[in-house]
């Protein structure tokens, strides 16, 4: 997926602008996927004996059509942007971080611990950075393990991050179940400091929705990731390693060090995502809160084509699907959206190499 963009192409006299080629390669797959998803969605809706148009109308109404639904979309998109950014950051270095699930959970747990440890009434300007640092540190620690095993022993990060998910989640489950839960529940006590204001505190229309200021944090993180990747020498080295590790090594970049940094930062970003639920929504850590957001981050990174702003848009899309499931539940089971999620990812994964092949093939023909 991160093959070189132009390495195999001959120089051309009348070259189309590079941004246009890249844009076509990046944008066509998500649109193909959307089309496939719409067709599958129609079939599923018809199999349930409902009218697709009616269902799509409900979907739009329940997500973007009212403040509560829109707030829920924003809330869900915030976590997905964190995990999507995390995955895409790793992919830019050619590494696949599938550990978003446990990094997110570890981050949320650490944020809750920090919020519990701080004295009541700590001002937010102090508590928020401390909680974010705690969340990022925990996520980064989980991300550093596969990074170290990869650079030191060559262990494949895909398998290590998957396995580590189970280990970390079981460990957190043990801490909560055995040591740190409110009786009769599987969550920690409420945090004393660091709670983020909700959107509904400012605009009453959003009443009841979980959208909170964590979405500002995630936009800052997205901008920072973009700046690092495309405007600093470190980001240049990271992308070079992702495109051609051997060439990068030859060019004087320490590939191992870049990998170590990339997976650790990826873990930090995913870990920071924990603040959305813990500081912004429930004000405690609950066992299992990540519930798939880490895995969905892979889909978000894929559809967002590993571009920080693309990731934000893709997260918004998947959040809409997820919230839309609830909106259409009266007519069609919300499980339909689980199917469509899978369809979208599969369609994008299948069309990315195909679109690249077709586009390059036609370009080469027009050059001849």
């Amino acid at each position: 997926m991160t093959a070189p963009l132009t390495a195999e192409e001959k120089p051309r006299r009348f070259a189309a602008p590079a941004w246009r080629e890249r844009g076509e390669e990046a944008l066509i797959p998500p649109f193909v996927a959307l089309l496939v998803a719409l067709i599958c969605g129609d079939l599923l809706i018809l199999s349930y004996g409902q009218s697709p148009l009616e269902v799509y109308r409900l979907l739009l109404e329940g997500t973007w059509g009212n403040a509560y639904g829109f707030g829920q979309v924003l809330y869900k998109a915030t976590t997905l942007t964190f995990t999507g950014l995390a995955v895409s950051f790793g992919l830019r270095a050619g590494l696949f971080n599938i550990g978003g699930e446990s990094q997110l959970a570890a981050g949320g747990f650490a944020a809750a611990l920090a919020g519990l440890a701080l004295p009541t009434g700590t001002p937010l300007v102090l508590a928020l950075p401390l909680c974010i640092i705690a969340a990022g540190a925990a996520g980064g620690a989980v991300g550093a393990v596969p990074a170290y095993l990869k650079t030191r022993f060559g262990a494949h990060e895909v398998i290590v991050t998957i396995m580590l998910n189970f280990v970390v989640l079981a460990f957190l489950n043990w801490i909560i179940a055995a040591h740190l839960h409110v009786p009769e529940t599987l969550h920690t006590p409420e945090i004393r400091a660091g709670a983020l204001p909700r959107l509904s505190d400012m605009f009453t229309a959003f009443h009841g929705s979980a959208a909170n200021l964590a979405m500002i944090v995630v936009l800052v993180v997205a901008a920072a990731v973009w700046f690092y990747l495309f405007r600093t020498s470190g980001g240049y080295a990271l992308r070079a390693v992702g495109l051609q590790p051997d060439a990068a090594e030859y060019g004087g970049i320490s590939v191992g060090r870049v990998w170590l940094k990339a997976l650790t930062i990826s873990g930090i970003i995913a870990g920071m995502g924990g603040i959305n639920y813990v500081l912004g929504y429930k004000h405690y850590y609950e066992d299992g809160f990540a519930s798939g957001a880490g895995f969905l981050g892979i889909a978000v990174a894929l559809v967002g084509r590993n571009n920080p702003f693309g990731v934000v848009i893709a997260a918004f899309f998947f959040a809409t699907l997820s919230q839309g499931g609830l909106a259409i539940h009266a007519l069609v089971p919300k499980q339909m959206m689980d199917v469509l999620q899978g369809v979208v990812i599969l369609a994008v994964a299948m069309s990315v190499p195909e679109v690249r092949r077709v586009l390059r093939g036609s370009r080469r023909r027009s050059d001849a």
Partner: protein, 289 residues
């Protein structure tokens, strides 16, 4: 608790792992990443419950479970082989799709978001403790059968060639793509059978009932260094740990969560090469031309 009880329980827990891991060995040895086992198993389990419910016969359930595993595996093969999609991403998509599709049809067929009605199964004689289930015996035989397939048949040679040296295989006239299609289909059927066993043993399908078993199976493949017999031994080892966890419940000697971690921690250690290096097939995850 006596040794016989322990062993019978261990074997019953190990059967789904044995099916799925054996399938995983075939696909991975052919060069296709098997993160999909979880999805294949889940669809197999759902197919078994659906078929058994509507026909009343577990045999029909068995066939429809195999068919469901096969359909998902062919989708995976089409994406990764024909369309050369990223195998890891596709694997995750297949798993999510399997969860979604089984949930949707669970709702559609049984109007439930959690489980199917009770269905018939094989065996069921209390005294036999599950050993009158032909699927259990099939599960015990599948790893040796796969070992024979991989090491003693012409197709097995091609599978290993497709996974280690696809260009070399192509140069002597082997269609790597065809070998891989077949291998992924085999993994779908076998993992599907693991799901069938699970659903018929519990006499129902429940949402996400595979609960990570496909990932334990892939752990066993890696821990067993892509060798079917060693992978089967790893399955038995992981099942023994799980049995121990169940038997120790209530005693609080070791928190159950720590026993849950055993397969995963062992796999990470195996990958890091602390105890004998675990080296994957050379062309694993790479699309063939």
């Amino acid at each position: 608790m006596n040794a016989v009880d322990f062993l019978t329980q261990m074997v019953r827990i190990a059967i789904p792992y044995l099916f799925a891991a054996s399938g995983g060995v075939v696909a991975e040895r052919a060069g296709i990443v098997s993160l999909t086992l979880e999805g294949f198993m889940l669809s197999g389990a759902f197919g078994a419950a659906l078929g058994t419910h509507y026909s009343g016969s577990p045999l029909v359930g068995l066939l429809s479970g195999i068919l469901c595993g096969l359909i998902f595996s062919l989708l995976h093969a089409l994406a990764t082989i024909r369309y050369r999609s990223d195998q890891v991403v596709t694997g995750i998509a297949i798993n999510l799709l399997a969860i979604g599709v089984t949930r949707f049809f669970l709702k559609l067929a049984f109007d439930s978001s959690s489980n199917s009605p009770r269905v018939a199964g094989f065996g069921g004689n209390r005294a036999a403790a599950g050993f009158d289930n032909p699927l259990l015996w099939l599960g015990l035989l599948v790893a040796p059968a796969v070992a024979f397939l991989i090491y003693r048949t012409p197709y097995g040679l091609r599978v290993r060639a497709a996974g280690d040296h696809p260009e070399a295989a192509e140069s002597v006239g082997v269609s790597v793509k065809r070998v891989r299609y077949m291998a992924v289909a085999i993994s779908g059927v076998l993992a599907g059978l693991g799901g069938v066993y699970l659903a018929l043993d519990q006499h129902q399908f429940t949402d996400q009932m595979t609960a990570g078993r496909g990932f334990i199976a892939i752990s066993a493949v890696i821990f067993g260094r892509w060798n079917p017999i060693r992978a089967a031994l790893a399955c038995l080892l992981f099942a023994a740990a799980e049995t121990l966890q169940i038997q120790l419940q209530g005693s609080h000697a070791i928190p159950s969560q720590f026993i849950e971690m055993i397969p995963y921690v062992l796999t990470i250690i195996a990958l890091a090469g602390v105890v004998g290096r675990s080296v994957p097939p050379a062309a694993l995850g790479k699309a063939a031309d």
